[in-house]
C-alpha cells in the first residue's frame, strides 16, 4: 500500500527538475560577483602598491598614485554621514516611536519611498541647484556630501526604523505603564537594544555612498586636483569619478591603473560590508530576550 504510483513518480521528476533549475539560477547570481572580483584581482592586483595608494597622480594621471582620490572619498563619506545620520535617525525615531497613523505620516512614508526611487543624476542636479548655487557652497565637499546625504537619507531612515521595530512592543508598553515618557522609553530600552542594527544600516550606507559618481560630479568632485582637501569648502578628487576619468577621458593610461582603482574602491566597500556582517553576527550571537 506504500508503493509509489505513476503520479508520485511524475511529481518527483518535476520536483527534481525544478530544484535543479532553481539551484542553477542561484549559482548564476554568484557568477557575476566572482567574475568581477576575479578580473579585478588578476588585472588590477599588479597596480596595487604603497606608492599607488599614497602618492599623487603624475604625468596627466597616466602614472603615480591615487592618494587625493582616496582621501577625497573618505572626506565625502564622512561629511555625508555627519549630515545624514542625525537627520535619518531622528526621522526614524519620530516615525517609529511617536507618529500616529494619520495622513501626514502616510504622506511622509510615501515621500521616503519616492526619495529612494529618485535617480542619482536627478539628485545631482538638485544638489547643484540647491547646495552649489542657492546656498552658495560652490562646488565643494560640503555641497557634494549634502547631495549624497539627501540621496542616502531614505536608506538610513528605513534601516533605522526596521531596527527600532525589532524591539518588541511589550517592552514599550511596560515602560509607558510605569509612567515613562516616550523619550525615557527610547533612551533606556529602545535605543540600547537597537543600536547595533542601526550601526549596521549606517555602515551599509557608507559602502553605498563611497561608490556613487553622478551626485558628486557637478557638486564637488574634481577631474584632476593633485592636492589634498583642507576643508569642507574645497573641491576634491574622488575614487569613483577618478575611475571614470582615467577609464574614458584620459589617453594612454596604462591598463592596470583603472583596474587598480576599481579594486581599491571595491575593497573599501567589501571591507565596510564585512564590518556590517560582523556586527550582525555579534548581534545574533547575543541573546537578548
Amino acid at each position: 500500500m506504500f508503493e509509489a504510483t505513476a503520479q508520485n513518480r511524475r511529481n518527483l521528476k518535476v520536483e527534481g527538475l525544478l530544484r535543479l533549475l532553481f539551484l542553477w539560477m542561484t549559482c548564476m547570481l554568484i557568477l557575476p560577483v566572482a567574475l568581477i572580483l576575479g578580473v579585478l584581482i588578476v588585472r588590477g592586483g599588479p597596480a596595487i602598491s604603497w606608492e599607488f595608494l599614497f602618492t599623487q597622480p603624475m604625468n596627466n594621471m597616466t602614472a603615480g598614485g591615487i592618494l587625493p582620490a582616496l582621501v577625497g572619498t573618505v572626506w565625502l563619506v564622512v561629511v555625508a554621514l555627519i549630515a545624514s545620520v542625525p537627520v535619518g535617525v531622528a526621522a526614524a525615531l519620530y516615525l517609529s516611536e511617536y507618529a500616529p497613523d494619520n495622513r501626514l505620516t502616510r504622506a511622509i512614508n510615501l515621500a521616503i519611498i519616492n526619495l529612494a526611487g529618485v535617480p542619482s543624476i536627478v539628485h545631482a542636479l538638485f544638489g547643484l541647484g540647491a547646495f552649489v548655487i542657492f546656498f552658495r557652497f560652490g562646488t565643494s565637499i560640503l555641497a557634494a556630501s549634502l547631495t549624497l546625504a539627501v540621496m542616502t537619507l531614505p536608506v538610513v531612515i528605513v534601516a533605522t526604523r526596521e531596527s527600532l521595530q525589532t524591539v518588541p512592543l511589550a517592552f514599550r508598553e511596560a515602560c509607558w505603564n510605569m509612567g515613562a515618557t516616550r523619550w525615557q522609553t527610547i533612551r533606556k530600552i529602545v535605543l540600547p537594544n537597537s543600536i547595533s542594527g542601526i550601526l549596521t544600516g549606517v555602515i551599509l550606507e557608507v559602502s553605498r555612498t563611497s561608490g556613487e559618481t553622478a551626485p558628486i560630479m557637478f557638486t564637488g568632485a574634481a577631474f584632476f586636483l593633485p592636492f589634498l582637501p583642507q576643508g569642507v569648502l574645497d573641491q576634491t578628487m574622488a575614487m569613483s569619478l577618478h575611475l571614470f576619468v582615467i577609464s574614458t577621458q584620459v589617453p594612454d593610461v596604462p591598463e592596470h591603473m583603472p583596474f587598480g582603482v576599481a579594486l581599491v574602491l571595491i575593497s573599501m566597500v567589501l571591507a565596510m560590508n564585512g564590518i556590517s556582517i560582523a556586527f550582525r553576527v555579534y548581534l545574533r550571537g547575543r541573546k537578548k530576550w
Binding site: E173, M178, Q184
Partner: protein, 268 residues
C-alpha cells in the same frame, strides 16, 4: 461631575477605590463599553469575568488610560480613583500610572538586569533619572523582591537579565517593579494565562497576599481562578456589566440567567 481639585483621597466614598459612572467607550464606530457603572472596593481583589470580546480588558485599560494610545478611541463618562476623575484634562498620565500599576498577560520584564527592572519605575519618576545611591537602591530592590516572594530565589542573581528568568519569576518581577513607586491600585490583565499550573498557583498566592495593601482589579478567563483568588466578581457581557457581587455568592447563587449560563460553561 468631574473633580479636578485635589480632594482628599476617598473623600467622596471612603471605601471605593474606583468609582466608574456612565462609562461609554468607542473604538472608531464600534462601541465597546455601554453605560458601565462600577464601584471597586478599596483593598479588595475584584475580578472581571466574561467571554472574549465582552470589554473587560477595555475597561481595565481605561482605568490607567493606556487605551488612549490608539488614536481612534473615544470615551465619555467618568472614572474616579479615590474621588478624582482620571479623564479630567488636568490629569498627568505619568502621575496616574505611578498610582496605577499594570500587569500584562505575557510577562514583559525589560531586557535589563533584575535589579534595574525593579528600579526602573523609581528612576523614571526621579528628576535626575537614578536613585539616590547604591544603598537606597539595594534597599528598594530587596523590599520589592521580598514582597513578591522572589528575594530568596534571586538575591544572588540580581545581575541576571529579567528576560532570562522562568515565566513565573518574570511575572513576579513584573509585579515587583510596580511596587517601589507605591501604587495604590494594581490592574492585572490575565496575569497567569501564560504560566504553567505551578506558576499560576504561585502568582495567585502572591496576588492574594498583596490584597489589603493594594486594591487589585484582575481580568481573568479562568472561572476557577476568579473563584479562588478574588473577593468580588464582576460579570460582563457585550460591553455591559451584568452582575456584580461578592465572589462566593456569584458562584453559588448567580442572580442573572446569563451569568449562571456563563459560569456553568454553557458559553464563553
Amino acid at each position: 461631575m468631574s473633580v479636578a481639585e485635589p480632594a482628599t483621597p476617598g473623600a467622596v466614598d471612603a471605601s471605593a477605590a474606583i468609582l466608574i459612572e456612565k462609562l461609554n467607550l468607542w473604538y472608531g464606530d464600534f462601541q465597546a463599553l455601554l453605560d458601565v457603572d462600577l464601584r471597586v472596593r478599596a483593598g479588595a481583589i475584584t475580578s472581571l469575568i466574561g467571554p472574549s470580546g465582552c470589554g473587560k480588558t477595555t475597561l481595565l485599560r481605561s482605568v490607567n488610560r493606556i487605551n488612549e494610545r490608539l488614536g481612534y478611541v473615544r470615551t465619555t463618562g467618568s472614572i474616579r480613583l479615590w474621588g478624582l476623575d482620571v479623564l479630567d484634562p488636568s490629569v498627568e498620565v505619568a502621575q496616574l500610572r505611578k498610582q496605577v500599576g499594570m500587569v500584562f498577560q505575557r510577562p514583559n520584564p525589560l531586557p535589563l538586569s533584575v535589579r534595574d527592572n525593579v528600579l526602573f519605575g523609581t528612576r523614571v519618576h526621579l528628576p535626575d533619572g537614578r536613585p539616590p545611591n547604591r544603598v537606597e537602591g539595594d534597599r528598594i530592590v530587596e523590599e520589592a523582591l521580598r514582597q513578591v516572594l522572589l528575594w530568596d530565589e534571586l538575591k544572588d542573581s540580581l545581575d541576571r537579565r529579567g528576560t532570562e528568568l522562568s515565566l513565573e519569576q518574570q511575572q513576579k518581577l513584573c509585579i515587583a517593579r510596580l511596587l517601589p513607586v507605591k501604587p495604590r491600585l494594581l490592574l492585572m490583565d490575565e496575569p497567569c494565562s501564560a504560566l504553567d499550573p505551578a506558576g499560576t498557583e504561585a502568582v495567585e498566592e502572591l496576588i492574594w497576599k498583596l490584597r489589603g495593601d493594594y486594591t487589585i482589579l484582575i481580568v481573568t478567563h479562568n472561572m476557577a481562578q476568579a473563584r479562588r483568588a478574588s473577593e468580588e466578581c464582576v460579570f460582563m457581557l457585550l460591553g455591559e456589566i451584568i452582575e456584580h457581587s461578592d465572589t462566593a455568592s456569584m458562584f453559588l447563587n448567580p442572580a442573572n440567567d446569563q451569568t449562571a449560563a456563563y459560569i456553568e460553561g454553557r458559553y464563553g
